[in-house]
Symmetry: C2
Subunit: 229 residues, 2 copies
DNA sequence: GCCGCATAAATCGTATACAATAATGATCAC
DNA sequence: GTGATCATTATTGTATACGATTTATGCGGC
């Protein structure tokens, strides 16, 4: 019941949302080409609006726009992956501290619901949805801190993290982070800013170290892999 | 000789650069409407490319896109102004520290040249250009730190700062910041990361406090002001 | 049989045309 | 004279059409 019937969304917003969701849930793998005509036909709009949507996604680094070549689902490099988490490490801990000092009962309930849903999704084996909810948890904290500018950056970084995790995540089974979110919420609810900051910092570090950034991402680099479908 | 003849720029990039420059130099005041037809005629392109450019500028928060109403030069609120500088305070000091640890002779020379040009512009009374160069100084530090992701954020924040300064700057005469840049460069050149971090932090704080964020921006809020032209 | 080049197909970049929406001004009632 | 309603105008939103560039394909030479 948060951002429901906006009703006046500008056409391309719908396409952006659909494509972003598809990328987050990995229904669209990194490197996949997004043909303007095809996308337009799928959603029943012309190339004009598709192009606008692709441009917005390119701003978020979710797609890579190559001149006269087209749009492709982004394939974050190892360097980019590190940078995204370094940026998060700079932004999120302090934001969590601010959030702790502003938490309301409604905020606590909302975050608790996020965590519950996340656990449910995990139990149901839907790791894609769990990851999505996990991201929303972080974004919600930025919103609670009432820092729209930083929240926008974090939203983008979380989105990109989703792609990065899709590429470099190794031990998918052990989603240890849900416990991290539990502890974080306790600190936030208690209004313990410094603790929330520290927990967020180590949480992000855990996330980064759980990625295997030495190997190339598990994207079909070679054709043979891609054809084993 | 940095980013000269790219030659293969995608059309709208030119419009983005021109409009951004115009906004930075405040040849376009906050709140001014950017009619698609007019802009297109000025630069000899169709509305299609103008719209793409406006969308990019909107992503940087340099223009405000209102549905079915058009594009307007952004008018950052007081809250937004604070948020921008808070975000910079989170990102730039640590980035300056990283830069200090990576400085090369070429980087030092480049930054020195920026400062020199800034002083020259000040002596010539061209505060607009001085402000622009001052922004480039910050962006260059992020580039030196080899953090593309953070550099992109800082670029956007510096751009927005330019608008904010246009709105809320009070003591234009005393551009004390140039000295701050001198000290910062010395710390960077000496490879003194912690000092650079500290200097950047206080520099940003100085900038923020030099703004008058209690009053509304000096934009024609009332019609009478606007008509006294 | 393999490589390079010319031609053909596909796709993107841009311009133009039409439709939908909001702003403006005029007419009429009161 | 003031207010509201409706017609007109202007501007944005979207679709389509054309040109430019890239990619794929087929041919000839080596």
């Amino acid at each position: 019941m948060a951002r429901q019937a906006q009703k006046q969304e500008s056409g391309d917003e719908r396409i952006v949302a659909r494509l972003a969701a598809a990328i987050h849930e990995h229904r669209l793998a990194p490197g996949v080409k997004l043909n303007e005509d095809e996308v337009g036909e799928v959603y029943g709009v012309s190339r004009t609006v598709v192009r606008a949507a692709l441009q917005k996604l390119a701003h978020m680094h979710l797609v890579d726009l190559r001149r006269n070549r087209g749009a492709f689902v982004a394939q974050p490099t190892v360097k980019e992956a590190r940078e995204v988490f370094e940026a998060r490490a700079l932004l999120e801990p302090r934001t969590a501290r601010s959030a702790a000092e502003r938490m309301t009962e409604a905020d606590i309930a909302l975050l608790q619901r996020h965590i519950d849903d996340e656990h449910k999704a995990l139990d149901a084996g839907d790791t894609g949805r769990a990851l999505h909810l996990s991201g929303l948890f972080h974004i919600e904290i930025a919103r609670i801190a009432d820092q729209d500018t930083i929240a926008e950056f974090i939203t983008q970084l979380v989105s990109r993290s989703s792609l990065i995790i899709a590429l470099y995540w190794q031990r998918r089974a052990a989603l240890c982070e849900s416990h991290a979110h539990d502890a974080l919420l306790r600190a936030l609810a208690a209004g313990n800013g410094p603790l929330a900051e520290e927990l967020m910092k180590s949480h992000l570090l855990d996330l980064l170290t759980s990625l295997d950034l030495r190997a190339r991402g598990s994207v079909p680099q070679s054709l043979k892999e891609a054809l084993s479908e």
